[in-house]
Structure formats: structure tokens, C-alpha cells
Symmetry: C2
Amino acid sequence: MNRAGSDVRGGEVVLRRGQFLRPQDIGLLCLIGKDSVKVYVKPKVGVLSVGSELVEPFSQSPTGLGRVVDVDRPMVRCLVERCGGDAQDWGIVGDEAELVAERLKEGMKGAHMAITTGGVSVGKSDITIEALKLLGAKILVHGVAIRPGSPVALSIYDGKPVVSLPGPPAACLIAFHLFARPIIRRLAGFRTEFLPCVRARLAARVPSRLGNRSHVRVRLYRKDGQFWAEPLQVTGSGILSTMTRSQGFVVVPEDREGLEAGEQVTVYLYTPHELVGGG
Amino acid sequence: MNRAGSDVRGGEVVLRRGQFLRPQDIGLLCLIGKDSVKVYVKPKVGVLSVGSELVEPFSQSPTGLGRVVDVDRPMVRCLVERCGGDAQDWGIVGDEAELVAERLKEGMKGAHMAITTGGVSVGKSDITIEALKLLGAKILVHGVAIRPGSPVALSIYDGKPVVSLPGPPAACLIAFHLFARPIIRRLAGFRTEFLPCVRARLAARVPSRLGNRSHVRVRLYRKDGQFWAEPLQVTGSGILSTMTRSQGFVVVPEDREGLEAGEQVTVYLYTPHELVGGG
């Protein structure tokens, strides 16, 4: 048994604003008899797919010949929830800027943020950007020197953030982790927004293009008491299986032409469940 | 656009049994049109507190003078859920072995596993062990050379695991992470059961007793581009605030008398949200 006052003292700060409530924090609230605390509301995040080629997953619509299953939306909805957000499904809109603008305008009335996928490539399939301009949204960024995910756009509409991710699935996921995740976590009240990471040794050389920051998907494994990161295919932003076969990514800085085999690197993990061992 | 077959091929294994489904895995299932997969059922885990001194949190019952708020049960229920289990609240039972046995027997009919807290100290307050013996449970372990948490007991009743955690909150939480968490995760279908961890430099010397494996709670912070681990009070298994002020623990092996300041150590994190930076 411990004496009164041996654990926490009167006037002591036991929890801070913005802190994630862990089991022991809930225990401490029980101990001091505090039966309610203010928490952040989950941000409502609308998820919209743009593209006339897209069909709903598991629908009976024919695919092939220019028809593509919309895999981005289920992935992004799932990611939003994992970041602490409340995902709203705004469906698919074809390549018509007016219709995209209408759906965004309607959806944003009940949301704190929007994420679009597709329609951001510079040139003819720039529908999402066109729609944002129609709405009078302030486009802060369109195009970033990263690979994959370079066509990503960041805008403000109605005082709320809109993140426009590229359509190819691997580019969509990498750009989500870099640009959408920090915003959702900030809206959800988290004070830190970094991905979990581990240090690993690179199992093979990876090439990259000078002037672009590359995000190389890696498969992690343990050997000789340390983590090794095996780089998967660097190119092919549409190749989803580089994401399913990997546990995270390594960043090649824009001022380097690739990384050497054997280098110590930081691997950013998609989820904390990726770790295969405890060290 | 990618050609058919450029992502996954017919006959290729895309997901394995026991794999945690990530957003990209759900995307791949959409891509290949697989609209249902078999998943593990959440294990039902009963949580029972043992001790005549315990009162419900937030109840009007007087505390002080030998009365203690039961903080273990809300913490353990919360931990069970975070490990992928479905927590059942079996309440508080006083220091009577027959009553504890009855509650366990009744509860186990609808559960896959039980966790008890309290009543495991060797000697007069050994009620939980007594109850397990009354039920004819097979007691595999009672007492482990660790600090804190040494009175922990592991048993099998009705073919199901029973983990008996010590009552003092810090001991309860450490013993949960070491003994209950791996069992729940295994029942939930996870193939790996390690805690997330980071490497850090120890900010101060920690003493420990030879022959005991010590679990030293540490506060993590970043300085000079690396993590530092500041050890909190080593003794006082009832002191909950060493858990609320720390982000994880460092293990001092049983064949060492403490760790030196400046040593590189592995910090096991309570949750993946503990990380304050991305490296």
C-alpha cells in the first residue's frame, strides 16, 4: 500500500491537452476520481474519386478496355479511419469539372476536410484542379518534386483543407502518408504527426533521379540481430503490389543519386503492426 | 495505365493467413474482385478484480483507510481492446476464494481467456491462486524473477488461459505487457507479438538487483537527432504515475547490476503513439 500523496500531489498536472489517452492515463483519471475529460471530435473527412474510367469495386460493371476498379477510395477511407478521422464516402464522379465541383461543394457542408483521388495530372486529365478553380478554392500547391506522387495538390476551400492525391494506387498511398495524414492527425488533436520508423540496413542499391525526393518501398526482414530493408521496384506508381509486399518506405533525398547497398537508413512504417521483431 | 498482369499474376499468393489487413491489402482485394476473406474472431477476455479493499472508480463509496479505487480493471479492459481482444467486465470480488472461483467458473463459460488482478502475492493474500486450485485449474507458473510484477501467475482452466496479474498498478501493467498481451494477440490471430520499440541512449544510470530482470520505466525525448531515455523511479510497483509519465520501458537483464548512463538501449513502447519524432 502506498501513502496518500505518494503518487500524485494536489495541483500537479497529470495529463496535458492534446495527449493521447493510454490505459494508464485512464487509470490515473479513475484514481483521482475525474469521470469526464474534454476530447477532440473526430474530423469528418470526405473521400471523392475522380475519373470516368473508374468502376465501383465488386460491381458487375465490365472492367478492362479503359475501365479500372476504383481501389483508391476504399484504401483512403481505411487510412483516414486509422489516422483518427471519420471517413465519408463521396463516391465516384466522372471527368466533368462542374460535376466534381458540385459534389465537393455539397460534401464540404458537412465535413472538416476533403481528399480527392485522380484528376490531378498536369494536362488533359486535370479535372480536379479545374473543379477547385471553379469553386474559387485557393490552390496552394500543385506538383511537388517527389516520386511517386508528384501531381499532388493542396488547396483551401471554405476555410478547410483539400488534399488532391494522384490516381495511381502506389502514388496515392505515398502522397497520402506525406500530405493527408499530418493534416488529419492535427485536426484530430494529435500534437505529433510522424510515422513510426525503424533503422535498417539497405539490402541492395537503389537508383533515383537527382532533384526528386524518392520514396522507395522496402520489404523488412531480420537477419543477424538487425533489420534489413530490401528495395522493391522503384518505378510504376500504379503497381499496388509494391505496397502490399512492403512494410514501409525509405526516403532518397533530392540531392543524392540513389542509396548504396549496406547503408543505414530510416524506414517509415505504414502501420505499427509492420514490425516483425522486438529487437 | 498498366497492362493486365503487370501487378499480380494468376495463381500468385497476394495475402497470407494471419496477416494484418492494411489499407493497401484491402485495395488489392478490391482490384482482384475478392469481396470476402476469412478473419479471426476477437477473443473474449474476462477481466476480474480480486480484493476486499477495492471500490469501483467514480463510486460514492468512501476511500482511504484501507479502501482503494480499482484502477487495474479499467486499464486492463482498455489494454485488452488495444491488443485486438473483446473485454468482458467481470467486476470486483472480495477476498473469498469460493466467490472468486464461482465468478471465474461462470465467466469462463462465455470467454476464451481470463485476466485477474490482485490476490496473487505469496502469503496471506493469495486468494486468486486458492480459487484457481479450488477449480482444479492447472497452475503453470506462480512467481517470476522480474521487477515489478514478480507474483504473476499463469494457469489453464477448462482448456483456456488464465493470467493472474499483481494488484499494484505499475506491476499489473508491466506484467500485462509481458504475459497477457502475447496470449491475446496470438488468440486474435496475429503471428507476431512483439512490442513496438526504438533504440535510445540512456540519460542516467539505473540500478537493479542481480538475479532479477528489471523493467525500468523511461521518459523518451529527442536531442541531437536521437532518442534519449530518462529512467523514472525503479521501485514502487504501486506508483501509477511512473507509467503515465513514461512512454515505455527498458529491460535490465538478470545477469547485470544496472545499466550505465550513455548506454544504447532498446525502449519497448506501450503504444505506437508514444513516438515523438520520425528520425
